[in-house]
Subunit: 426 residues, 2 copies
């Protein structure tokens, strides 16, 4: 039996989940892996606070060096969250030759190059399955199962809070603000929900996923980002009638040397596997040139699902003879970030008279080379006699569509109320 | 650059797919893994047959020893299929210290103990991601991502041919025989479809999956098996009206020391993630005590999806410092195969008069402790005045239900026309 000493950085819900899981699986881990894990030190803010698990005397500490500089700590598990000081601590551990297991998407996607260099310098491993989609082994899929593939595209529901909100808005026809309040009451959304509802959380995760999928660094700043705060029940309902379901999608595509990465509200056909991913569940759908379509589905958050990924990484780190770092950079790299991507567009307008708006919108679009695939009028004219008309375009370039819509708005008689990209339709 | 010499056993569609994929990915494999694979010898039945890829002179051979006894062949890839002689060849290669990458579910599930022993004796690795669900990395998920979980249940659509047939029967209301003929014309079913439609293929795969999931050997002979040849469009339609979708499901559960494993037509709620897995796609859904629900979805067959898994295994085998064999057996094992499992049952009967059949069926069921959850009459009485009545039970034990139904049939006035298990409803 090999004893492996570990240190924790942070001890919130996730850290306690890992503690519990290590205890529960102690017998199995010994029998199957021949390893006994001992948590030597745990860095906390307040050593006197009551904890949900029983921790022996002398394990809790509020001094980072007790974990980072202890020569007996072989593996460091980080679940403090946030960019700093987590990133600095991770780097220090790696440089000291301690492998690090982390769930920290922000530290990773922001400081990848530095952390990667530190791991190589220290001869240590950096494991981060838990940083994206909780229990779903999507990092391992990229690094260990799809090596013989050129991944062409990837679409994911990688934020549980927004998926919960959109699922309820779709089922109930309710407004964003109302469901958000409910989600906050239920603990499914933070008191300050910005990171989730504005798509920041998903953008960090997409930066990691796309970098692994395309073997090239896709920095988080290059991810186009649009949240769900302006999504209206009217759009969701219009989409449903047209066989489309609204999701906050993280989309990344590689076409030759051009890579695009974006997070925004997106319609997918209601028959698409992603359309049926409901509530707080996550899923990543991808297509590789050899494997074809794959989807991974599961619980993207929560203490035990996240602990499942963290302990799996811990076992991997403890058993590795040599730490293989995922190749975020491809030696023969020449890729650039594509900002003028192409998509299909759902456009909802409101205008004073129908024959006029049709001619006007069609004209503006045609002027920018954007074709219209279908058009429907929604409901009866409102009190002011204005009608609502929804257009769906053929595949077109983002910039052409945006220029065309500016022109539509300029007339004053027709107002563009929403523009939602449609994926999964080609 | 490290050169790794490999040998092929078999060279059908899958073998040619692997050859093509190795060629396509040559540059990436060199850059990312630092490995150059050379196919040294390929065992075929007929060295003169025209091939779909260009093979240099002297590579093809019809003598197995040219692959198995060549000291320069480091890794053997097997895609002959069938139990023998494949199992013997795999064993010989392993004993000679050559790692083996195989897609052969039959050889593996039938000869696991022998092959495992040979790998250990030879210090070689045995890799078989491609043996279950083609490109879907479900083996890797079990061995490399779920180590910190007690898997409680697993339900899979793991045969593409039968899923294609059931999907079309559901969509079109057509009969099994008609869709089967179509599938055969399209090359989606074999001229002799027995292995697929009678559930043998799925039983082999379930034996492997359940063994890995539960860390205990679940022999293929212990898998209860029932095919789809007697599935009728009437049952599918009745189920649909009740919000149920019919699938050929591979089900395995572990409850303490009791393990059950079975392959049979099964209703799942139409809202269940598995219900939307259509056509020839495969999916494995599972629940672990820490990870919660997970699903893996993708292409379970085809030359390139299978090659994707095989080449991934090849890269893993070539890079391994030490070959970790999946622990099929848990040291502290005490499990037994449960044959009297519990389920919910859909029962379709035909009887001469409705009030009579209700009392009769309810009475027989109650006598065996089986509760009825709902009952509906389907359609109008037929020409002979018989009505069709569908019952759905509460969760009950298989043997109790079967005994009750024997009693129902014994009366002569009520005939049980189908019994279909319902899963995913608790």
């Amino acid at each position: 039996m090999r004893q492996v000493e570990i240190g924790f950085l942070g001890f919130g819900n996730i850290g306690e989940g890992v503690w519990r899981l290590l205890e529960e699986m102690r017998g199995e881990t010994a029998r199957r892996e021949g390893i006994s894990f001992e948590v030597r030190r745990v860095l906390v803010r307040d050593v006197h606070r009551q904890r949900g698990v029983e921790v022996p005397q002398g394990v809790l500490t509020d001094r980072p060096e007790d974990v980072l500089d202890d020569p007996d700590v072989q593996i460091v598990m980080e679940f403090m969250g946030g960019e700093q000081p987590a990133a600095d601590y991770i780097e220090r551990a790696l440089l000291a030759g301690k492998s690090v297991v982390t769930a920290n998407k922000m530290a990773l996607s922001t400081h990848w190059a530095r952390l990667n260099a530190a791991a190589q310098r220290g001869g240590a491993g950096l494991y981060f399955e838990a940083s994206v989609c909780g229990a779903i082994p999507v990092i391992r899929a990229m690094t260990d199962s799809l090596q013989a593939n050129r991944v062409e595209r990837l679409m994911g529901i990688i934020n549980g809070t927004t998926n919960y909100i959109l699922t309820r808005m779709t089922r109930e026809g309710s407004r964003f603000e109302d469901v958000l309040q409910d989600a906050q009451r239920l603990g499914l959304a933070e008191p300050d929900p910005t990171a989730d509802v504005e798509g920041y959380d998903a953008a960090y995760k997409l930066s990691i996923l796309a970098s692994l999928a395309f073997y090239t660094h896709v920095p988080v700043e290059s991810v186009y980002r649009e949240g769900i705060t302006r999504v209206s029940p009217i759009d969701i309902a219009c989409g449903q009638e047209m066989g489309l379901t609204l999701k906050l999608l993280a989309v990344a595509k590689r076409n030759g040397d051009a890579v695009e990465a974006r997070v925004h509200p997106t319609f997918v056909p209601s028959t698409h596997p992603l359309a049926n991913v409901s509530d707080a569940f996550n899923a990543v759908f991808l297509r590789g040139h050899a494997c074809g379509e794959l989807m991974f589905y599961g619980r993207g958050a929560g203490d035990m699902p996240t602990a499942s990924a963290l302990v799996s990484d811990l076992i991997k780190a403890a058993g590795a003879q040599r730490h293989a770092l995922p190749a975020f950079f491809d030696a023969a790299d020449g890729v650039h970030i594509e900002e003028d991507w192409s998509s299909v567009y759902f456009i909802r307008t409101r205008a004073t008279d129908k024959p006029g708006v049709l001619a006007h919108v069609a004209g503006c679009m045609a002027g920018h080379g954007v074709g219209i695939a279908s058009m429907v009028q929604k409901g009866a004219p409102d009190a002011d006699g204005r009608v609502q008309i929804v257009f769906v375009t053929h595949r077109a370039h983002e910039q052409a569509v945006m220029s065309a819509l500016e022109e539509v708005n300029r007339s004053g008689r027709t107002r563009v109320e929403s523009v939602i990209r449609v994926e999964g339709v080609e």
